[in-house]
Symmetry: C2
Subunit: 166 residues, 2 copies
């Protein structure tokens, strides 16, 4: 006899717990990036993104409610790994002229992880007939994409400035 | 007295070692995904991507040569974390109807990590006056993006098929 099979809904809930953990970690970690950043522009980008992250967390809590569940985080090894690399960058490049370039790269790795996960969650929410959840994820996805683009812009600016000064 | 500061070039080389490690891990891991996938289409996508990954590795080795260095891998905690999550998906959903959806999501998390890293490497290669390296990274980036789009397509197809069958 076969045990009851897991379904797409189980997978959806697991993924929701994973990104809930990730968003909370990001919220905790951003002040460290603000502190490590050299340029005012990058400090501001990380500070503003922290405010947005509060909304991302709150939207996830709304989706848990839609499912009749209490918000629950599940350790997300991916975001832990990405953040470990960010910590290494701060440790090794904290005193270097390249710190902002390194922080931009770390930030973009985080944004891309989130973009992948929210893209998946949107597809699954639609399939599970949860269009309101899909809309909430889409709002967050747009903000993650915008944050990624802002980091690209800051990264190019930082790099060009260093180049002009050299 | 201050020790000699690390530069953008050091950061570039560190990042190159990181993605070299990641690509080699991906190459090793893809057969496991081929085996776990249910649909022939997804099996083929992972199989084809493994062939492309050989090129990605070889392009990175060319960039090491351009720098006058032997190829060297540096443990990439991010890809390790992303792959740990992929393993969990196979373990928990291997017998489930949702396995392909889970594998598509894992594959897309990997693709997005690579997209972030190659995007960064292109920007830095240009800044370091290595246009040939930038071109190699850009070729790989295009393939990663195409792989991500193919997974989106397969994901939607898989999900719709299950839906129609339900």
């Amino acid at each position: 006899m076969r045990v009851q099979q897991k379904t797409l809904k189980d997978l959806f809930i697991d993924q929701l717990k994973d990104i809930y953990f990730a968003e909370k970690q990001i919220y905790k970690t951003l002040p460290k990036l603000v502190q490590a950043a050299e340029s005012a522009e990058l400090k501001k980008a990380f500070t503003d993104h922290r405010v947005q992250t509060e909304d991302h967390i709150s939207r996830l809590e709304t989706v848990f409610e839609m499912l009749g569940k209490s918000p629950q985080a599940k350790t997300c090894e991916a975001i832990k790994g990405i953040m470990t690399e960010g910590d290494e960058t701060i440790e090794e490049y904290g005193e270097s002229e390249a710190i902002d370039a390194g922080l931009v790269a770390s930030g973009q790795a985080v944004e891309h992880y989130e973009m992948a996960r929210y893209g998946t969650l949107i597809a699954w929410a639609k399939q599970l007939a949860m269009p309101d959840a899909a809309k909430l994820f889409a709002a967050t996805l747009q903000e993650e994409k915008a944050a990624d683009q802002l980091l690209t812009k800051i990264g190019l600016g930082a790099v060009n400035k260093k180049s002009a000064a050299a």
